[in-house]
């Protein structure tokens, strides 16, 4: 008799964003006349930069001619893209990362979900709370947790991110082996300083642990004092894997391209206590279970690093950051406490009541969709996430509606 992986049964009923989509659909069936403004899911709204479109077309043409057609590419990605990334995203910032340490993929969601396969069943996992659900769910599926009880999975080390610590978690009292960190943070929009990140790198060295650093929102950093990559921190090459994405930096959510950095110095230990190279293991996983990213998509991503591409991406993000500023201003006027939004597309709002209740009220009275903080973890209760991914016009309208519904939203 074929048995399933019973760990799947521990998973909570549905994925957060599917839950939200369901509530929206129920609402719209009842009120087909209401026009909603979606500030919930973190999906970009502006088209791809023109430089990417031009490169994309050119590569599609290559695929249509025998002389330039490309079949299977390297699973790890084409050298032209890996090289451009190494130079622009790392070496130019003094971070010692070379092209061979970069693995191109079709999404940071996939990579942050798949990376746990490299590690032992018994690895002790630390995750921030609130947190992007994928880190937790993929470890549940792999059997590294107990059951769900009182809003948390047993066996995980939760790192509370609260107003008290500025949404940057403190080092845990327990020994963690694998630590997920995300800065600029999804969902809180918080950022981390060099000093704070340095403490985590030291911790990982001391406890022979590894940091999984999700920097998908790096492109939104404008404060010159903040690190753009964990490899700006001395000693990080041995203890950190970094995840990046073109989804938010260049509008690739529907085009699909991302990458993961696994430095050759990155290590863990086998059961016999021998040091093993994580670069080698990830390379083996990547070439056994993945077949590379679509060639035209890789050419489109390469164009992000051209002079035009850089300017166009910068303008794209400037637009979203301006939205975030407008949202912050409107919240200030209405007296809501909030963080994020200055180096991040997300604004984390203390909504003063149950977060799903606020979600429903905001939907009903303002026709605006947010993401309830509770969906990201227990510490997210009492908060909602607003996303700046929208047109300036819609953001303006949403903030007016929010002001109009202010009385109905207060607890």
């Amino acid at each position: 008799m074929l048995h399933i992986n019973d760990n799947y049964l521990k998973l909570q009923a549905s994925y957060l964003f599917a839950d939200i989509a369901h509530r929206i659909s129920v609402f719209q069936q009842k009120h087909p006349e209401r026009e909603l403004i979606r500030m919930g899911i973190g999906d970009v709204t502006n088209p791809l930069p023109q430089a990417c479109i031009t490169a994309f077309h050119k590569a599609v043409d290559e695929m249509g001619a025998a002389a330039t057609f490309r079949g299977y590419g390297p699973e790890q990605g084409y050298e032209f893209l890996r090289q451009a990334i190494a130079e622009h995203d790392f070496q130019s910032r003094g971070a010692d990362i070379d092209a061979g340490e970069i693995f191109i993929s079709d999404g940071a969601k996939c990579d942050t979900g798949n990376i746990q396969e490299l590690f032992a069943q018994g690895a002790r996992i630390a995750v921030p709370d609130p947190v992007y659900p994928v880190y937790v769910d993929t470890n549940v599926m792999a059997g590294r947790t107990g059951v769900w009880a009182q809003g948390r999975y047993q066996g995980l080390i939760y790192l509370d991110c609260t107003a008290a610590n500025g949404y940057v978690p403190e080092l845990p009292a327990e020994k963690a082996d694998l630590i997920y960190l995300c800065f600029p943070n999804n969902p809180t929009g918080a950022t981390v300083s060099r000093e704070q990140l340095g403490l985590w790198v030291d911790y990982a060295h001391k406890h022979q642990a590894l940091i999984l650093f999700d920097a998908a929102y790096e492109a939104f950093i404008r404060d010159e004092r903040l690190p753009h990559t964990i490899y700006e921190i001395p000693g990080a090459r041995e203890v950190a894997i970094e995840f990046r994405s073109f989804s938010k930096s260049a509008g690739f959510t529907g085009t699909r391209c991302a990458y993961t950095v696994v430095p050759r110095d990155c290590r863990a230990w086998d059961a016999a206590g021998r040091e093993q190279s994580l670069h080698g293991l990830w390379n083996r996983r990547h070439s056994t279970k993945f077949n590379g990213v679509s060639y035209p998509v890789q050419r489109a991503a390469e164009a992000v690093y051209s002079r035009e591409g850089q300017a166009q991406c910068r303008a794209l993000i400037d637009g979203y950051l301006e939205n975030a500023r407008l949202i912050g201003e409107a919240l200030d006027e209405l007296g809501y406490q909030h963080v994020g939004g200055s180096n991040s597309p997300y604004i984390w709002v203390a909504c003063g009541r149950d977060s799903w209740e606020f979600f429903d009220l905001l939907l009903t009275h303002a026709g605006v969709v947010c993401t309830p903080g509770a969906g990201f973890g227990r510490c997210g209760e009492g908060y909602v996430r607003l996303s700046a991914f929208n047109s300036g016009e819609n953001v303006q309208k949403a903030m007016e509606r929010l002001a109009g519904a202010a009385r109905m939203l207060k607890a």
Copy 2:
């Protein structure tokens, strides 16, 4: 201390095709003047059909304009593509599969590699020998095997495919829970009849097992008596998952699009013995660890099902099948036993000696690259795989060289 997944250490040193690439590179460094003809790796050589190129360009344009831009799509794939597949590949053949049972992905390699995650650690795995290495390696990584000994992993049930059984395995004496089958077969090129496949479906019902049916080479079937999908067999909906790909049917190896069919009736059991829906589990995996295929790529794949697309794909495959016929003829003349090639792009040749030795001799004396059968399993020893993916001109030239080197190749 962070421990690795020690199962990775059981894997044999390198992936077969990486091994071949290495030998070629060594040879070319020694003999830079020699021009090689590659009939090893199963990679297509002809450009994408024009219908796909046109649709691809149109979708790239959509991504460049605000009004038509698309962000995140459904993780399972767009309805337009799922619907086209359900109608053309299944319903038109009387196979009862609907669009909701089709999951679009970026590769059959990924899907056949990831599917095992749904099942219990203790599932008993049956794999053909010779076999596409991904089925085995991904189960090794997941810890479902013992160590490598005498050319096989302990704990797997190997299904011998030999000249004696026409390269279609017999039902195993042991009880298997999960059975990998691939027809038209990679590497042997063998096909399976409705009756033979019916035996496996019956076996799966009887033993509460599941068939993982890899039909990546379905488009090469020309014999009207052969089934194109396992769902042509009554009772298969409960006991089979099928994998398909646009890689070989439309030249998408570098463009990346595939799909997996998980019928809603497909079942397995939890530890408590309750029946569980594999459709639900795969949907959960797909939406948690994957973010959908690039939108323009899905539009290019949809064009495969247009009238022009169908004709162009047919012509593409006719060309490769003509190559296969030429290869078969040449082998006949030289007195080599072989199978495959009439409903498959692969020809499986009894080379009459150690397969890596033949590989080296063919490279040295003919400048032709094949794939050594031993790389696919113990039963592949004494065979090599030739691939018809090449220009007609190259195939002609390769066969002339083979004839010229005939004396050197004989044992």
